[in-house]
Point group: C2
Amino acid sequence: MILRAQFPSLFLHSSRFNVVLACMLAMAPMAARRCVAQANASPYAFHNTLMPQPSSLEAGSGHFMLTADFAAATDKSHDERLDEAIERGMKRLAFETGLQFSTQPTAGAAAQFLISVDGPGEAVQSVDENESYSLTVTEQGVHLSAATDVGVMRGLATLEQLVQNDGERYFLPAVSIQDTPRFRWRGLMLDCSRHFEPISVIKRTLDGMEAVKLNVFHWHLTDDQGFRIQSKVFPLLTQLGSNGQFYTQEQAKEIVAYARARGIRVVPEFDMPGHTSSWMVGYPELASAAGPFHIQTGFGVFDPVMDPTRESTYRFLDKFVGEMAAIFPDQYMHIGGDENNGVEWKQNAQIQAFMRAHDMTTTAELQAYFNQKLEKILEKHGKRMIGWDEVLTPNLPASVTIQSWRGYEALAQAARQGHDGILSSGYYLDHMMPASTYYQVDPIPAGSTLDATERGRILGGEACMWGEYVDAEVVDSRIWPRAAAIAERLWSPQSVDNVDDMYRRLRVESLRLEALGMTQISQEDASLRTLAGRQEIAPLQVLAATLEPVDFGVRGAYSEAHHVTTQSPLDHVIDALRPDPPFRHRFSMLVEAYLKSPRGRSPQEAKLRALFEQWIAVEPRVEELMAHSPLLAEANPRPAQLAELGGIGMEALTYLSTGQAAPAGWRASQLAAIDAAEAPVALTRFDVLDPLRSMVNAVEESPGAPPVQ
Amino acid sequence: MILRAQFPSLFLHSSRFNVVLACMLAMAPMAARRCVAQANASPYAFHNTLMPQPSSLEAGSGHFMLTADFAAATDKSHDERLDEAIERGMKRLAFETGLQFSTQPTAGAAAQFLISVDGPGEAVQSVDENESYSLTVTEQGVHLSAATDVGVMRGLATLEQLVQNDGERYFLPAVSIQDTPRFRWRGLMLDCSRHFEPISVIKRTLDGMEAVKLNVFHWHLTDDQGFRIQSKVFPLLTQLGSNGQFYTQEQAKEIVAYARARGIRVVPEFDMPGHTSSWMVGYPELASAAGPFHIQTGFGVFDPVMDPTRESTYRFLDKFVGEMAAIFPDQYMHIGGDENNGVEWKQNAQIQAFMRAHDMTTTAELQAYFNQKLEKILEKHGKRMIGWDEVLTPNLPASVTIQSWRGYEALAQAARQGHDGILSSGYYLDHMMPASTYYQVDPIPAGSTLDATERGRILGGEACMWGEYVDAEVVDSRIWPRAAAIAERLWSPQSVDNVDDMYRRLRVESLRLEALGMTQISQEDASLRTLAGRQEIAPLQVLAATLEPVDFGVRGAYSEAHHVTTQSPLDHVIDALRPDPPFRHRFSMLVEAYLKSPRGRSPQEAKLRALFEQWIAVEPRVEELMAHSPLLAEANPRPAQLAELGGIGMEALTYLSTGQAAPAGWRASQLAAIDAAEAPVALTRFDVLDPLRSMVNAVEESPGAPPVQ
């Protein structure tokens, strides 16, 4: 029988495997843990670490043992892209298992791994490309079938996640999966303007995207801080607007091909009419003010904006869009359209005269005029326009797609007006929220009042990685593994919403992503070693696990106050730390489990005690490292604070485990100490405070007045 | 006064700094440690972590504090390459210190950091390029002067290594350095045929080379296992000979430019007439046998070899060399010339007839004929020939340079015959020797009987990274940091030969290299996490520190027996482990220090006890990880063996510290157990056995016969 994740109430079956699945997919965490224990009773039981979860899955009995005889064959259509995708997948399976099997697929021959695909799919992958697949593992072999090459890629990503072992050999558990994405547009936006990212970073990002079934790489190529794509028609765009850091057209084509090979569309963004300082350094005639212009090094919203009243602007854009349309084959072209402050338009007498002549009273109306003209240019070059919220103005053609950074309501409004839309509000990775926060944001949330037609216009969503504080070294830890949680939200059924289970699988996925070349775990250690100037950083790792970067707002305010620019080195403690470090959720789970029955000795109590002892023990050792590293010492007094938090934890543990009451006022004083640790230090925040508060609050106090201070 | 490293006997001065320097540069390890302790008495004392050591250095008094006002200016010549090199250096200094100073140099203006360079240097950097520089840090500022841009690059690399801190701020200690390399040719060969390495790997390798002042990137581009450079004249070379993995001409030019920007020459190698299977897949007319030919996937010496008797071969090579000469501007072109087994020549009747007609009795004579013809072709295209030992045959023009994989004697012989030579024997990184072994190999060893003219022909040496077992993930840990020890041997005075001090500085250099983008430390952890399938790998790290890869011979024999190919995944324990892990030398030093006064309690005794306890403690934890990872479990019974070694260490510690005698026969039985741990397991070897033997041998035994077993 089929276990449909959409209907968790159907999960209550007698089969052990089905119970496991029910737990894995959508049940409460305690139930999930109980089930894992059951499943592990047999090494061949299916252990679900799939991410994203498939739309339906049935675990069978038995397993398929992987050996050196493993081989793939295509029995229907096949083409070069498909063969290469299969070979890459087979190589990854070989790497996972250490087996030296042949990785190149044969055509038509019988093989243990049979791939049946109807045809290659669309010549230019569209938003409607069929990505569905079905994957069956039996004791006899593996069968993957799909309508398109892209469907096979999605199935291969799932297959790699199915590999288990019995301690001696690797196998695939028997399973039958029918999978299709919930949303058609599952994107990741990467801002390569504020900091340039090398081609190697883009490629590994695409590898990671393929692994978690994201299908749109939204490439933010131009902004005030740098023009990053070569134009041969307008060479000064990069010659004067990029500081030499840009992608050649060859490289851009290489990325488009690399993405296509992975079933990923590339949507380029050329942000206009605002966010265009870098354009105007070489082409001041585009501007609404006199200039001179320079590449911005600061962050925020700047005044330079294109002059929408001159026909020469559109002649320029016509040529430019035409040139870019030949490099980027995707149907969509992103024109940005955000954060034009209108200052230069208001200060320009000629533009003001134009507005009066056209009965415009607001700069928004003028931008609407610009958008309509630009949309015609895109249409001429065969492109559909997509822009940020602000492009949604009256008279905008319904063909324009809205990407919402403002929120679901703005998106719903657009859908009601007939526009397609994608959600990015709530998916800003640079906001440094935990994966669980992003995971709970839905492009069509429960309770949405959109009708079926309007819902159909919500294409999906995009994680956004803005580039103010990311370079080639730190960008992976800002994207991964949190983007995998968003990928699941966009691919899997809405009912897949168990946060604890998501974190369980995210830990596994993070390791898989590192094996694919991402560096989100390794880079933290490497940065801590650089900061410490030592190879042994165990005490520092204990502290780092309890800290994470402050959110975007706090960092932004600090950056403004301290004149941080695109040129400022990203070499501080905050740059080393990972957002939502694995310890955060683990500690929270541990405290939650402990507080369910705190009395007496328990494994949880012992673990917590060891942790708190460690927090106390590392203080002098981290301080010793800080004494030899001014950059590391910026995070003082974090070690002393952690030791204090450890002390609070130990006291709470003692009261709770013995059942003794604390003196009156104990809770208030401990909570005050915890509150004091909330303040940012060197742009770091503790990730352990709420669970500690829960522990303190669980302690009973003796009746009576608190002691006199 | 100047402290010349060449004359350590001059080092005995009263100045505290000079004493430190003397210790750092060339003295015994105990003396060095004592001096470091002295130096650390003041936070502003010069702490020498330079690698390679400069040829002369005088420490001054005082220091120059780095602040946000730090800025660079060029007061004589400057050009784009120089400005970019300075900006890169300034960015690295900014990263080291977290300071937001301006990183672009100004021309002619006064600045804290003044750079005086006579001119850009040679249009195409030659083997004789002037790389000397002088660097002076005073309380007032920094002055770097050099004859050429490349000299400035070498000085910048030194300057970055001078940065120290006082716990609160970063500074440069007052110092005066006059530096010039001992050898002109300081290379790293990278074999990109047996495994292809992406451009990003090549670039970071060049970054690492610049940091340690290596100046020749020898790019092994063709071999039996793949033809890796695009030829437009002969497109089948890569179309049929590369499996799609090759460098385009654009990419090759990009690498040449990237290297030139760092003062590094690129010498391409096209190995011929043997090692040419990949050529013949597309162009069988080059071959000495009928074919068909295929890209080799195994390793070793194969039969396919060019037919040197046909003029068509030389017409082909003339065109090919001409095409490559336009891509690679270096004066030298490497033609390989090694390991032609002559089998096909002996089997080919036409070739045999040719040999008889030309009075040749050996295939070596025929190869000499080929070399002479090829040399003419290179000369025609403005290139000097370089080849491996085998090209050294009678009648070879003296202009041909010999790269010796056979040893110093072969090199000396060549020098006596008038040939320039570079040493690679003893510098094979794939042999997995410790840095200390390479460090003690000298292109002109003490006792050399070459006269001054002949010595002048020894241009230098090259570290060789052959590609059988390295891919993009593991290659860094195979090259770094060990290549830095070879770089020092080739740059620094011969008298700089203190192994312990080299290791002290190598630890620091390894961190610097990781900060530059190498991954030799991080990748071990990442690979162990992948092997374990866990994020927490502390117990596994304890085991890994005591293990290293077996040497090339053992791995080669295993590979042959198990049919390992270029397609075999490099995902085993051996691939995760680092050669010469830092723990190896540290443990050896610790045991050595302990054994100097083993009686009673000492810091060394406590450290050793903690270590041995750890070895015992991790056994069950590593075994638990192995129980869930067949790939990791390949290294069984290493955990149990480590625990046993820990037990032996604990017993030895107890006897030695208490002064008690062990029972008769104790030593023999412990040594037998240590010997048993010598045998390779999963291609790993323990790196702790010799120090343990020293401890066991230091234990006194009771007189009398050993107990009956």
